[in-house]
């Protein structure tokens, strides 16, 4: 019973992650692409916890949520959307 | 079932319902200002109720849950405030029936978006 629920949650999360991955490529604004990448990292963190890897989940949350987002925001501030 | 268990179940369901409502509000509200209401206030209340429900069912975890609740209470209004200020940077989002705009009168202008 709990297995069915976990499968449903994993299917929802996985579908959302793949859809977000495709959206990163096709969304117009680069800033939106950065935000959606942050969402991919955060749901990957939930997925890691579901796979019983709390250490990896903590690392992915701290790095994907803050450091990577911050670095890409800096780069977008320097380059802009054109090109 | 003890009283604590019943209280925990009620709190969990109400918290989950409010969190679901916030997601619904994010999707269905017409413009950004309305979505900010759903996205910041409802999630704060829903998280507090949900975590309180978990605390009723597992009393040993209360210190850690209390820390999470404390951080949510401290941080979520700040991020909502910063988001609202960021939305204010977009003049085309200004609603038609706005009577007063105190932030614009203070002469505040952040950087324009590049």
């Amino acid at each position: 019973m709990t297995e069915t629920l976990m499968t449903a949650i994993v299917l929802t999360l996985g579908g959302m992650m793949v859809a977000a991955g495709i959206a990163v490529l096709f969304v117009r604004d680069l800033l939106s692409a950065i935000i959606i990448t942050g969402f991919v990292s955060l749901s990957a963190s939930v997925m890691f916890l579901l796979m019983d890897a709390p250490d990896v989940a903590i690392t992915e949350a701290s790095i994907g949520a803050v450091l990577a987002t911050m670095i890409f925001l800096w780069g977008r501030g320097k380059i802009g959307d054109d090109g | 079932m003890s009283v604590l268990s019943i209280a925990g179940h009620v709190l969990l369901v109400s918290g989950g319902f409010i969190l679901f409502t916030s997601g619904l509000g994010i999707l269905r509200m017409p413009d950004v200002w309305n979505r900010l209401h759903a996205g910041t206030k409802a999630t704060t209340l829903g998280s507090i109720l949900f975590l309180a429900g978990i605390g009723c069912l597992q009393p040993v975890w209360i210190p850690k849950l209390f820390l999470i609740v404390l951080f949510i209470i401290l941080t979520n209004p700040v991020s909502g405030h910063a988001l609202a200020r960021a939305v204010h940077m977009r003049p085309e989002e200004k609603p038609d029936n706005l009577l007063e705009d105190d932030l614009a009168e203070t002469g505040y202008e952040g950087g324009k978006e590049q």
């Binding site: 803050v66 450091l67 911050m70 | 401290l74 405030h81 910063a82």
Partner: protein
């Protein structure tokens, strides 16, 4: 358009290969090989309750040292390039609420990071996540102020000291037990108490300090490169 379609064709071919290969990885029922031996002997040999930390710091400590060196090279390259070619735009003032939050919240968040580092052998966490949490407090301080270049600081000293102490702790193992990063000579203690695991807490502190100072250095370089112009 033709580019997108050609890429799609390549990716679909690779997807077919993956769909053929991945089901060959049978679902295992039992631990095998290296994983089995780490799980069965790890707690007795290293005294660490967290087997992942035991693998990172004790069994694969030399690999972690190399990995820290790679991290050092990447962050040094970033800082060096940003110092050589500064590129900048001015930033605006934060609002009062954000500025106040940036004054109050860094201390508790840094306490989180210190908790993760100090309990690396007891609970999930360890040097890498703790270091990034500490580095993100510097990010919070940076978000709560307008960007003013700040050229002096002790970050390189902390970084060098942390790397040096990692190496020295490893050589201490060679001198006393004849093995690089041997951690049993300090005594493994009772697993589950805060003083246990031999060298693991000390090495976690070194890794945490190094990761924190490197990422803080990257953020500081980002901030300083936006000063002029």
């Amino acid at each position: 358009m033709i580019r997108t379609l050609a890429g799609l064709v390549i990716v679909l071919i690779l997807g077919a290969v993956a769909a053929a290969v991945i089901p060959e990885m049978q679902m295992r029922e039992e631990l095998q090989g290296v994983g089995y031996s780490y799980a069965s002997r790890g707690m007795d040999e290293t005294g660490s309750s967290n087997l992942v930390t035991a693998v990172i710091v004790a069994y694969r400590g030399l690999d972690t040292l190399g990995e820290v060196v790679v991290l050092f090279c990447a962050s040094t390259a970033v800082v060096l390039m940003l110092t050589l070619y500064p590129i900048g735009v001015k930033a605006s003032e934060p609002s009062r609420i954000v500025a106040f939050t940036a004054k109050v919240l860094p201390a508790p968040i840094m306490l989180f990071g210190v908790y993760f580092i100090a309990h690396s052998h007891l609970s999930p966490g360890g040097g890498f996540p703790g270091g990034t949490v500490i580095a993100s407090t510097f990010l919070l301080v940076m978000l709560g102020s307008s960007s003013v270049p700040d050229r002096n600081g002790r970050l390189p000293a902390i970084e060098s000291l942390a790397g040096l102490s990692f190496g020295l702790l490893g050589f201490w193992g060679i001198m006393t037990a004849g093995q690089f990063l041997n951690n049993a000579f300090l005594g493994t203690g009772t697993p589950g108490s805060i003083i246990s695991g031999g060298l693991i807490p000390l090495i976690s502190i070194a890794i945490g300090a190094k990761v924190a100072s490197e990422f803080s250095g990257v953020f500081k370089a980002f901030r300083n490169s936006g000063g002029e112009a």
